[in-house]
């Protein structure tokens, strides 16, 4: 077994700046009360805030400058997502600026990139990746959705679920089986035959849709990259899992902070509850899990250029961060007792985000399965 590449985990000044700027923006523009309003609203996000996020250059943070981005990489994107996770930021950012944008970067031709990325980087266009169909199948291979050639067009039929940002998207990237394998097509959300139905979601800060394709016709140029996009799609998911892990760390850290704060101030039996070992040791274990998740997430974000290492690091981060966040978010409710179980308290926003995130790209045991494949175990 080769040892892991040596990388530095300490943040650069630039990364610290991204963090402080992001935290300030989110505290001012998307404080929890605002998040709660949006999560109960029809749209689920605020177009004005979205525009201003774009103004901050967030949508193009990890996009090349030639495509209207700032040319940063997964580490900087991770810092931003950590802050968004901390603030349970609602809206299509993850679906569009992370997943869909990555898919285009990984799968599309140069011309297609030059065509599609700028409006995404500027936030004018919101895109989504529609890939999953069977609720327990997270593989990109041979989707049930089919694309058939007819003349110089493709006709797409099928249905996708768990389409993050599907309700907000103008552009749908959809995977479909062709004779050549699995291809990725860019389809306008308003194209004939495309039906987007919002789903009732456990985590109302991150909307999902089912998207149906009924003989949807697109030109040949709508196929992103070559006939077989499987490898690009696998890499896209690995990068999505890596990015999500940073968001999970941010949320888990916030849960730990809430618990520690409460354990210091809440008194029962004439003592702060944090002076009882049952609570103190729980918080200490939360700290350990958060730090382990952080390590796995930071590592994955730093090795994305090394395909072999990413194949190990991404599912490592996915499984560790998912389990840590779900556990910490649950224990945060327990530390708070009754109040933590109320709608008015914020603890549940994190639990719902945590549980959802642990399933979006495959549950921890599926992530471990991928890890095992990479390790030859």
């Amino acid at each position: 077994m080769a040892d892991s590449p040596t990388v530095s985990y300490a943040p650069t000044e630039e990364q610290d700046l991204i963090r402080t700027t992001a935290r300030r923006f989110l505290e001012e523009r998307l404080p929890i009360p605002t998040v709660r309003e949006l999560m109960m609203s029809e749209e689920g996000f605020d177009a004005k805030v979205w525009k201003d996020m774009a103004g901050m250059g967030w949508m193009g943070l990890a996009v090349a400058e030639e495509h209207g981005g700032s040319g940063f990489g997964p580490v900087e994107l991770g810092v931003l997502l950590e802050e968004m996770g901390r603030a349970v930021t609602p809206g299509p950012f993850f679906g569009s600026a992370v997943i869909a944008t990555t898919a285009i970067q990984e799968a599309a031709t140069d011309t297609q990139r030059a065509d599609l990325l700028p409006p995404l980087s500027s936030g004018e266009t919101i895109a989504t990746l529609a890939i999953f169909e069977d609720p327990r199948r997270w593989s990109v291979e041979s989707p049930g959705t089919k694309a058939v050639r007819s003349g110089d067009e493709w006709v797409i039929d099928g249905a996708k679920r768990a389409v993050i940002a599907g309700t907000e998207a103008d552009l749908v990237l959809v995977t479909a089986s062709t004779d050549a394998g699995v291809s990725l097509f860019a389809v306008p959300a308003h194209a004939d035959g495309v039906e987007v139905s919002p789903e009732p979601v456990l985590d109302p800060t991150r909307r999902q849709a089912r998207v149906g394709f009924d003989s949807v016709r697109v030109g040949d140029g709508a196929r992103l990259g070559g006939p077989d996009a499987a490898a690009a799609l696998r890499r896209t998911l690995a990068l999505a899992v890596t990015a999500l892990a940073s968001e999970q760390v941010g949320g888990a850290q916030r849960c730990l902070d809430m618990s520690v704060e409460y354990a210091k101030s809440r008194h029962q039996f004439g003592r702060p509850i944090g002076s009882f070992q049952a609570i103190k040791h729980r918080c200490a274990q939360m700290l350990m899990k958060v730090e382990h998740a952080r390590s796995a997430a930071y590592h994955a974000a730093r090795v994305t250029d090394d395909p072999d290492e990413l194949a190990v690091a991404a599912p490592l981060a996915g499984s560790v961060a998912s389990e840590a966040y779900v556990w910490v978010a649950g224990e945060n409710i327990q530390v708070h007792g009754g109040i933590g179980f109320t709608w008015e308290h914020d603890a549940h926003l994190y639990l719902k985000r945590a549980k959802t995130s642990s399933l979006l790209f495959g549950d921890p045991s599926y992530q471990r399965h991928l890890l095992g494949q990479a390790l030859g175990i």
Partner: protein, 394 residues
């Protein structure tokens, strides 16, 4: 309990049913007659819904009534009154108070609720801060209670208040029955993370309670509260669900529907199944021991075990749903639930998070197991003898 007692209650039940055929009698009327014939709480004294017989006989009476087609629904409809309130009145109330309250309680004409927990007094109920100040032959109550089931439909509330802030915390409390329709009583739904409100917050703003609604002596409130909670235990214990029912049964169904053959998930399911079945048999053993009058450790582990299991099982079931586990079919509508609706997996996952908090947190249950069952020493107490007003709070 002697055979003659068995025979006697059997006869009385038969007579009751004959005199008031369940089919042809309104439930309220039937329950009234049941009360008048001493078959409501058979261990209560005659004239107060009982016959002064062994408590164990009530189960026999209820079974026989159900077989005869009579409803025992009132025990659920007015759970806190019939299971807890009645016990409190029986042990601590004056005959006049019992006469006033027991019969309409049993007929469900008057629903009861319990007002103990407060925002500042959760695990530490004895730390409660709701004040009652004497004013002539009335008491004026100010404060807030939480986690109150049925408060929005209740006529009467079992209320513990602080009447002497300068006494140590366990003293200086007084127990009242408060009219929930009185001025200054404000009941608001308390929404949970599921989006439903099973519970209420109750605010008391200069609520006046006549002194004749005080239960037991001034300052005896903690003793009465303990009686209430003991009756809660008795009420909550009891019949054990069949094998593979409830959440684990649901998990098995979801597994079967999923058609999955993932060996890792299967092992997790079987692990939970085994833990649940072992806990279930433990409850059966506990009941057997309790009936035989030998309460052992088996009895004390159930609450803790089921809290953990319900949380783990429902979390597993949600995972089993994969991407469907990220959905929430009912949506978050912020409503009061209709009765005891069967939860889908995702709502069950959220709802069970409270199982390790409600009715005694798992941390408190572990203390109880450690100290009362295993006899381990308690923590050093910093609050026991201090005047309540000087105990750090918040």
């Amino acid at each position: 309990m002697s055979d003659s007692d068995d025979a006697r209650v059997d006869r009385l039940v038969d007579e009751l049913v004959e005199a008031h055929p369940p089919g042809a009698t309104s439930e309220e009327a039937f329950w009234g007659a049941q009360y008048d014939n001493g078959l409501a709480w058979v261990w209560h004294p005659e004239g107060f819904g009982g016959l002064g017989l062994a408590r164990g006989l009530q189960a026999r009476i209820n079974q026989r009534l159900e077989k005869a087609g009579a409803s025992t629904e009132n025990r659920y409809r007015n759970l806190l009154g019939i299971a807890m309130g009645a016990g409190v009145l029986d042990a601590h109330a004056s005959d006049e108070q019992k006469r006033r309250w027991l019969r309409p309680m049993f007929t469900t004409e008057e629903i009861w609720c319990q007002l103990f927990s407060e925002p500042g007094a959760g695990s530490d109920v004895a730390g409660l801060a709701t004040r009652a100040v004497r004013d002539g032959d009335e008491w004026v109550v100010n404060g807030q209670k939480v986690w109150t089931t049925l408060a929005h439909v209740a006529r009467w509330g079992m209320l513990v208040t602080r009447t002497d802030p300068d006494a140590p915390k366990h003293q200086g409390m007084t127990y009242f029955i408060v009219d929930m329709t009185a001025d200054g009583v404000d009941v608001r739904p308390l929404y949970q993370i599921t989006g439903e409100a099973e519970f209420n917050e109750v605010f008391f703003n200069d609520v006046r309670i006549p002194d004749e609604h005080r239960i037991d002596a001034v300052g005896a409130g903690w003793r009465v509260a303990v009686t209430t909670l003991m009756n809660e235990r008795v009420a909550i214990g009891g019949n054990v669900p069949p094998r593979q029912s409830g959440y684990i049964g649901h998990a098995v169904d979801v597994w079967a529907e999923s058609g999955s053959d993932d060996p890792v998930l299967r092992d997790r399911l079987l692990h939970l199944w085994a833990e649940a079945e072992a806990a279930r048999i433990t409850s059966i053993r506990a009941n057997e021991m309790a009936t035989a009058g030998i309460p052992g450790p088996e009895g004390s582990t159930g609450k803790l075990a089921w809290a953990n299991l319900n949380k783990e099982i429902t979390a597993f079931t949600t995972d089993l749903l994969g991407l469907d586990g990220t959905l929430y079919p009912d949506g978050y509508e912020l409503v009061r639930p209709e009765g005891l609706a069967q939860h889908g997996p995702q709502k069950a996952f959220l709802r069970t998070r409270a199982n390790s908090i409600e009715g005694g947190t798992s941390e408190i249950m572990l203390n109880i197991l450690g100290e009362r069952v295993l006899g381990l020493p308690g923590e050093p107490r910093v609050d026991k003898d201090l005047p309540w007003s000087e105990v750090p709070r918040g």
